[in-house]
């Protein structure tokens, strides 16, 4: 049974072994995974006030709450994506450069597919440049699939370790 109590989450739980609790989800759009404050009903109707530390990233399936009754996980809604499918590394590199210049996250869907969220202005431009290698399809853009190439951050990490 649901009561009207608000579930306040200000840190992520250390997940305990599951014990047949009810599975519930906090449904997010792909672009909401970095939000710190989210006040929203779960899929089953529980009111959630999420106030997460800004370093935590909300990935698909992440447990954000657990008690004896329920387990609440992150569910990221799939969306329309612009997908580049190519084994031509030069083309992949150029595409990442073009998209990266707009500061957009790029997702690795599988070995020869990369995706970014559909944008009605960007799509015709990409199609003109990359032709039939760029198509549209629905995918879930999960932050665990983001391609990272932050050389500067890597160097910073080395410096702080010294």
């Amino acid at each position: 049974m649901l009561n009207n109590e608000v579930i306040r989450i200000d840190r992520l739980p250390v997940v305990q072994p599951l014990n047949n609790q009810e599975e519930d989800s906090l449904i997010l759009e792909w672009y909401e995974v970095n939000r710190t404050i989210i006040k929203r009903e779960s899929a089953a109707g529980r009111m959630i006030h999420l106030d997460k530390p800004s370093s935590a990233v909300l990935k698909q399936g992440l447990v954000i709450y657990q008690d004896e009754i329920c387990v609440i996980r992150i569910f990221i809604k799939p969306c329309t994506c612009m997908v580049l499918q190519s084994s031509n590394m030069e083309m992949v590199g150029l595409f990442c450069f073009d998209v990266g210049n707009r500061h957009l996250p790029i997702y690795m869907i599988d070995d020869h597919k990369i995706a970014i969220a559909y944008d009605g202005r960007l799509f015709p431009a990409l199609q003109q440049k990359y032709g039939a290698s760029v198509t549209l399809a629905n995918y879930r853009l999960d932050p665990s699939q983001i391609i990272n190439c932050y050389g500067n951050i890597y160097e910073q990490n080395i410096k702080t370790k010294k």
């Binding site: 970095n34 939000r35 710190t36 800004s54 559909y118 009605g120």
Partner: protein
């Protein structure tokens, strides 16, 4: 990055509209069309960076609602949703007469009780 400017603009607009109460805003909802030339993730991230600096808005939520592209078909005199970038009505008539998708606007502001 021009998304930071957009976020600052949103707060400036709200300050002008609600000079006495704007620091008590609990939630701002933005509608962004798929043709508005602004990616929702960049606005969302710019907002998170903004409230890190402007800590008085630390408790404020920003929610973005993406608006699908809707076009008008002259032949059917009705509207249709553009899915997968196909600007073609179910009747087969192409149309680039856009009814929705270009907007970027504040659609709702909720204040703390």
């Amino acid at each position: 990055m021009h998304e930071i400017a957009i976020v600052k603009d949103i707060f400036k607009t709200l300050e002008q509209a609600y000079p006495e109460t704007y620091e008590n805003i609990a939630k701002i909802t933005i509608e962004a069309g798929l043709l508005c030339n602004v990616q929702p993730i960049l606005i969302q991230n710019a907002f998170e960076a903004f409230v890190l600096e402007e800590t008085r808005f630390r408790e404020t939520e920003l929610e973005i609602e993406l608006l699908p592209i809707i076009a008008y078909c002259k032949q059917c005199t009705s509207q249709f949703e553009v899915r997968f970038h196909k600007f073609v009505c179910v009747c087969g008539q192409p149309s680039d007469q856009i009814v929705q998708g270009e907007e970027l606007r504040i659609s709702q502001v909720i204040f703390k009780d």
